[in-house]
């Protein structure tokens, strides 16, 4: 995929290594002073699958997508939301943000929230303040299982590029923009176990059974995602808000990398 930015920072997430310990979420909350009623990142628990005693359970860590073609920047009336030309991260200039919330609605991943206290939109910044000083994002640095990786996807020698090249499977959550093009998200999910049923989740707290029982988020795309995980099936459309997944075979990935170089 051609890249418009000098660096294309993104995440590669090794699903087989996530243990749902939530060190990432606490680290993110502290690093970025996230309000107690919001979370910028979460881990999607797919629930206990199968019949006793043959059970599986998969955890899918979530960050913001830092899309190549983010819909949020286009609806931003104040110009506060932008994609950095330098590092490829999608950021919000909170001095300019008027908190209108259009971008919150436009984001197909529900990656944004309004910080009521400050009256501005907030989201995962890829810990840009750390990245610019040579540190890994807080969630990546402390990941006990080694599931979260971060780096420049434009750089073939980066840890993320190496992990993608080595991966047995890779998945991306593409969403369809109003113009029909893909959002081009920069999170790749690799090494998904066979038990994985869905990548799709948007409610970080609903996930964690914080309050009322709510299983609705599992039902949105479960069937579709099961199909997506069968190798060779290629593209599959998901209803809801038009999110698509692309299953990358090894060849596809390699083709993509050639394009970039």
């Amino acid at each position: 995929m051609p890249s418009d930015t000098i660096k294309r920072h993104g995440f590669v997430i090794d699903i087989s290594r996530c243990i749902d310990c939530r060190a990432c979420m606490v680290a993110c909350s502290v690093e970025n002073t996230v309000p107690y009623d919001h979370t910028r990142i979460w881990v999607h628990d797919q629930g206990v699958q199968g019949e006793w005693p043959t059970l599986q359970r998969t955890f899918v860590p979530y960050n913001r997508m830092h899309c190549d073609k983010p819909p949020c920047t286009e609806v931003c009336v104040s110009g506060a939301t932008f994609k950095s030309k330098d590092n490829g991260l999608v950021l919000v200039d909170q001095d300019a943000c008027i908190g209108c919330g259009f971008c919150v609605d436009a984001c197909p991943y529900e990656a944004r929230y309004i910080d009521q206290e400050r009256g501005v939109v907030d989201k995962c910044t890829g810990c840009v303040q750390r990245v610019e000083t040579g540190q890994a994002p807080a969630c990546v640095q402390t990941c006990l299982g080694g599931a979260r990786l971060f780096g420049d996807l434009n750089d073939p020698t980066s840890t993320v590029s190496a992990a993608l090249a080595k991966a047995s499977t890779a998945l991306r959550l593409d969403a369809k923009r109003p113009d029909g093009a893909s959002t081009g998200p920069n999170i790749y999910y690799v090494n998904a176990p066979a038990s994985m049923v869905s990548l799709l989740t948007t409610d970080g707290f609903g996930q964690m059974e914080k309050s009322v029982p709510d299983t609705s988020q599992f039902s949105i795309a479960e069937e579709v995602w099961k199909k997506v995980l069968i190798p060779g099936l290629g593209l599959a459309a998901v209803a809801a808000f038009g999110v698509q997944a692309i299953f990358f075979t090894k060849q596809l990935l390699e083709g993509e990398k050639e394009n970039e170089e």
């Binding site: 680290a27 006793w52 059970l55």
Partner: protein, 722 residues
């Protein structure tokens, strides 16, 4: 519509601000004086300070990021082998323990009834005088043994022990009998050491018996587990629950509670029967192999299947794979399996399994232990002779339990019964007996009988809530502690901010108490730094010199790999010590008691977001914890008309609780599970109060006669819709 971040934006985002605005901004910063003097902080009070985590007892290395005299972030110290640059959820949340809005920051003296929660602020002088005058009164009237003392595994514990032993009381409770006495005593009997080091570097095969490493987290060990799995190691995980660790294992064995030792004896049976053991290692380094061979002939896989529920073929396969992978195989002895009075035999069987397959020196190594490595110590006179018998029965009823570990639940019960005598006071440091001891009603009953209770803690935990005096301790980010030896380094806990309010370090508090009791000879240090400098003296260095990196290198290498501090000097497969004590010298299957038809095994365990009974009030952990629910299998739930999220009543012979359920196939149909540490009584914990229910209300007290371990899984409960 894009724009790039301006330099101003980046400054605002943080990280780069240090230095840029330093000049011309000379307000006196509210930062730790020592850290400033050591050059760890710039004039603005910004910088990174190395210290040691205390969110659990694994003690990871921490780099605390300080900004303007406030801790803003904690990072794992890459120089510390326990953290390797990472911290778990609890470690990451550590600054919220320090900034907990419910911190106790001034000495408090009770004014209302016990448990009413009414206190008044007092000066340190008044509070300390009240504590020590009560202690003296009790000693004069009833003897020193009438004072109980308890403290949980922490770095300042040697100074706490000075108070009680110099005072003359034998009654000392630690949390270990509620946790891993069975493992410690089994290791002592077999290897002559409490806990060998586990080495994951080359492990190809790992058996985890209830060691839920992804939820009962020890940062470096949890990371090592995920690394060996990624490298293709096979992990066998036995647990009545399908935990997160089970979901990462190659094989999950939903073993019947209380039957772990049968499983391990059958593994030994196959390994000996099929000659998969390491003959040369066995001959050179173990004693009693012949007796073991004879004893396990009846422990066949088919026999174990009938007890454990694990198919005989599976057991045989695991034994063969384990034998083939040895010496790069490890049967992890964990902290506890499902815990029954027979758990000591399980632990012995595991130590023997590792020995006969020759894993020693590859997957297991001797450990130096705390206090080793050529550190100096603070001089003190010998303790007075203590003639009174201990209330917990060590050693007169329990000869094999180490004195500095004791049996906490037996101390409580002995005290409650007044057997062999009635105690009258209790001094508690960083320990929460009201919540962590089984059978909470009994603990509260004992509190009601005591004349005086004083608690040292950082927050108003349940025990403090029922105390007469609360002495506020500085949090782990606010104080020094004695050094902690890990491998070939002695690591330093040092304050990264000044203590808030009037909170003081444990070393200061203990010295003040000791001095007021006339025991100043046992506290020969001026202050915390002087204590550590005396430890460092043989190494020719000082606190000031090591504070930059947070550790001192120790002299001398690892202890000799092939020596064991046992009577035979070998690994004792056949334990002559146990034999002399009248116990089985070779591990033997003991049938545990069974629940009645309508009852369930009550299992408890850990979650990755909390540590035992002490972190539930941490707002960051509360944010990311699961709502605590009782696990129940769908079949068992359906039979009782119970649906997910229903509130149910659990009842045991000790008590009953109400809690919401999680109906899940991740647990055996004959078990229910709950996470301990919830159901706080203290209304001084505004985040933790009102969340969940306490398993300690349900737990009955059963003590293993050999190790003193509390059989935590030997409580059976009925479940019905509330």
């Amino acid at each position: 519509m894009t724009k790039t971040l301006s330099r101003r934006d980046f400054l605002k985002l943080g990280g780069l601000a240090a230095g840029a605005t330093a000049i011309g901004n000379f307000l006196p910063p509210l930062v730790a004086k020592a850290a400033r003097e050591a050059g760890l902080l710039d004039p603005n009070g910004d910088g990174y300070i190395p210290t040691i985590c205390e969110m659990c007892v694994w003690r990871c290395g921490v780099l605390a990021k300080v900004k303007g005299g406030r801790v803003v972030k904690l990072e794992g110290n890459p120089d510390h082998p326990h953290s390797n640059g990472k911290l778990c959820a609890r470690g990451q949340s550590g600054l919220m323990n320090t900034y907990d809005p419910d911190r106790v920051l001034h000495p408090l003296i009770r004014v209302g009834q016990r448990g009413e929660g009414k206190f008044r602020m007092a000066s340190w002088g008044e509070a300390l005088d009240l504590v020590t005058s009560n202690m003296k009164k009790i000693k004069d009237q009833y003897g020193p043994e009438a004072m109980l003392f308890s403290s949980t595994h922490n770095l300042s514990q040697p100074a706490f022990e000075n108070i009680l032993y110099a005072f003359g009381s034998p009654n000392y409770g630690t949390q270990r009998s509620l946790c891993f006495n069975a493992m410690i005593v089994a290791n002592l009997m077999t290897y002559g050491m409490q806990e060998p080091d586990r080495d994951y570097a080359h492990i190809k095969y790992l058996i985890l018996t209830g060691r839920n490493l992804t939820e009962a987290i020890s940062t470096s060990e949890t990371s090592a587990l995920m690394d060996i799995i990624a490298q293709g190691a096979k992990v066998v995980y036995a647990d009545p629950r399908f935990t997160k660790t089970a979901s990462k294992a190659s094989v999950w064995l939903p073993i019947k509670p209380g039957t772990d030792s049968a499983f391990h004896l059958a593994l030994i049976n196959v390994i000996i029967g099929e000659r998969l053991f390491d003959q040369s290692f066995v001959t050179a380094y173990t004693s009693g192999f012949e007796q073991l061979s004879a004893a396990v002939t009846t422990c066949t896989p088919a026999w174990a299947e009938s007890i454990t529920g694990i198919p005989a073929d599976t057991i045989r396969r695991i034994a063969r794979e384990f034998g083939a992978a040895a010496p790069y195989a490890l049967a992890h002895n964990g902290w506890r399996t499902s815990n029954f009075v027979n758990s000591f035999q399980t632990q012995r069987a595991i130590t023997i399994l590792n020995a006969i397959t020759g894993n020693w020196g590859h997957a297991l190594h001797p450990v130096g232990g705390e206090g080793a490595g050529g550190l100096g110590s603070v001089p003190q006179p010998p303790y007075p002779r203590i003639s009174a018998a201990r209330l917990d029965g060590v050693p007169w009823k329990y000869p094999f339990v180490p004195l500095n570990i004791g049996i906490f639940q037996e101390m409580r019960d002995g005290a409650l019964k007044g057997d062999p005598y009635q105690p009258h006071g209790w001094l508690i440091s960083r320990q929460n007996p009201v919540l962590d001891l089984p059978d909470r009603q009994k603990t509260l009953e004992l509190f009601g009988k005591l004349d005086f209770i004083a608690t040292i803690d950082i927050i108003m935990n349940d025990t403090a809530w029922f105390s007469d005096v609360i002495l506020p301790e500085a949090s782990y980010l606010e104080r020094y502690d004695p050094l902690n030896v890990v491998g070939d380094k002695a690591f330093l806990r040092q304050p990264v901010i000044d203590a808030q309010g009037e909170a003081k370090s444990a070393l200061w508090i203990f010295k003040e108490i000791g001095t007021r009791l006339g025991l100043q000879d046992y506290f020969q240090y001026q202050d915390e730094q002087d204590y550590i400098n005396q430890q460092l003296k043989p190494l020719g260095t000082t606190v000031g010199q090591i504070s930059m990196h947070g550790f001192a290198a120790l002299r001398g290498g690892r202890p000799n790999e092939m020596t064991w501090n046992t009577p035979s000097g070998k690994i004792e497969v056949y334990s002559t010590i146990l034999e002399k004590g009248g116990f089985d010298p070779i591990p033997k299957w003991v049938d545990p008691p069974q629940p009645k038809d309508d009852q369930f095994y009550l299992l408890t365990g850990k979650v990755g977001q909390h540590t035992q009974f002490g972190t539930q009030n941490n707002k960051l952990l509360h944010k990311y914890e699961d709502t605590p629910r009782v696990w129940i299998h769908p079949d068992a739930a359906a039979k009782r008309g119970i649906k997910d999220w229903d509130v149910v009543q659990l009842a045991s012979d000790a008590g009953q609780i109400n809690a919401a359920v999680w109906v899940t196939s991740a647990i055996r149909p004959d078990c229910v599970y709950m996470t301990p540490g919830y159901g706080h009584l203290s209304k001084g914990l505004r985040t933790g109060y009102g969340v969940g229910a306490s398993s300690s209300v349900l737990h009955l007290t059963y003590t293993d006669p050999i190790s003193g371990s509390q059989a935590l899984s030997q409580t059976y409960v009925t479940v019905k819709k509330a």
